[in-house]
Amino acid sequence: MRMPDEHLENELRHALRLEAPPPGFAERVFERVARERTRSAERGWKNWRRFFATPALRWVAAGALCLVAVGAYEVREREQRLAGEEAKRKVMLALRITSAKMQHAENRAVNGRDE
């Protein structure tokens, strides 16, 4: 006699019913999650340290730092030079105006005396 499908399926449902996990399962999951978080934070810091611990990378980092310092110095020098040139231009303009005015005054004085 053939075993009915429905009966076999019911027996399978019974055999494969939900099993309770071992006691403390959830707590162990939370502990693992907490450990993983700490570990990943430590890993991030260690990776940075390891990155700079490589001799070649140290030289690269030092070189990059020098480039930044030289660049900053150059920028500052250029700004100062430009500021100086601007001041010089203003002084020259002021001198030219003063000179022109003095010339004008002198002409008026001479011409007036002549009149």
Binding site: M1, R2, M3, P4, D5, H7, L8, E9, E11, L12, R13, H14, A15, L16, R17, L18, E19, A20, P21, P22, F25, A26, R28, V29, F30, R32, V33, E36
Partner: protein
């Protein structure tokens, strides 16, 4: 509007990790246990899945999505674990020892025997049977979870049931058949 709902769901999900673990621990553990047939290994694999869930919570959109993700991940992880450790089928279906005394329907011995027989199925067929009868999932849901065609699920299930029926009838005698047909 949809964005707001999604954002709310994400916040709710990330806030309720503990609740999610408590709600789904039996489902995840049982799927692994019925597939692997070892409590310690099942706990290890189930814990891995929950740790992974914690890091992916922000990407899961709803409680249904979480449940789907958990079922899919525990299925794949259990199969991968077995393949990696080569623990598969300590006893092949045909080689499984037969009990000496006949058992009746609903008997704990019948359940144990059925679990042994399920454990001796090939990996994919075994997971399909576990998802079908532990979780009462439809074939289409199983197909989506395992990322395989529905027809493959149907044929695996059909073959597995035929094998299990034959083996159960052969090993447990006519008592079970008589009770089952009442």
């Amino acid at each position: 509007m949809a964005d707001t709902l999604r954002a709310e769901a994400l916040v709710a999900c990330s806030m309720d990790f503990e609740e999610l673990v408590r709600e789904h621990q039996a489902m995840v553990f049982s799927l692994a246990y019925h597939f692997l047939q070892d409590r310690a290994t099942a706990e290890e694999v189930a814990q891995d899945v929950f740790v992974q869930l914690h890091s992916r919570l922000g990407r899961l959109e709803s409680p249904e999505h979480v449940k789907f993700w958990l079922r899919r991940t525990i299925s794949h992880r259990s199969i991968d674990y077995l393949r990696r450790r080569k623990l598969r089928a300590e006893t092949a279906l045909e080689d499984a020892p037969e009990p000496v005394t006949p058992v009746a329907a609903g008997d704990p011995m019948l359940s144990r025997r059925l679990r042994q027989l399920v454990a001796s199925l090939p990996e994919r067929a075994r997971m399909i049977v576990v998802l079908r009868y532990q979780e009462d999932m439809e074939l289409a849901e199983i197909a989506k979870t395992m990322a395989i065609p529905v027809n493959t699920v149907r044929s695996h299930l059909h073959r597995s049931l035929a094998l299990l029926r034959e083996k159960v009838q052969r090993t447990l005698g006519s008592g079970i058949v008589a009770q089952g047909t009442k």
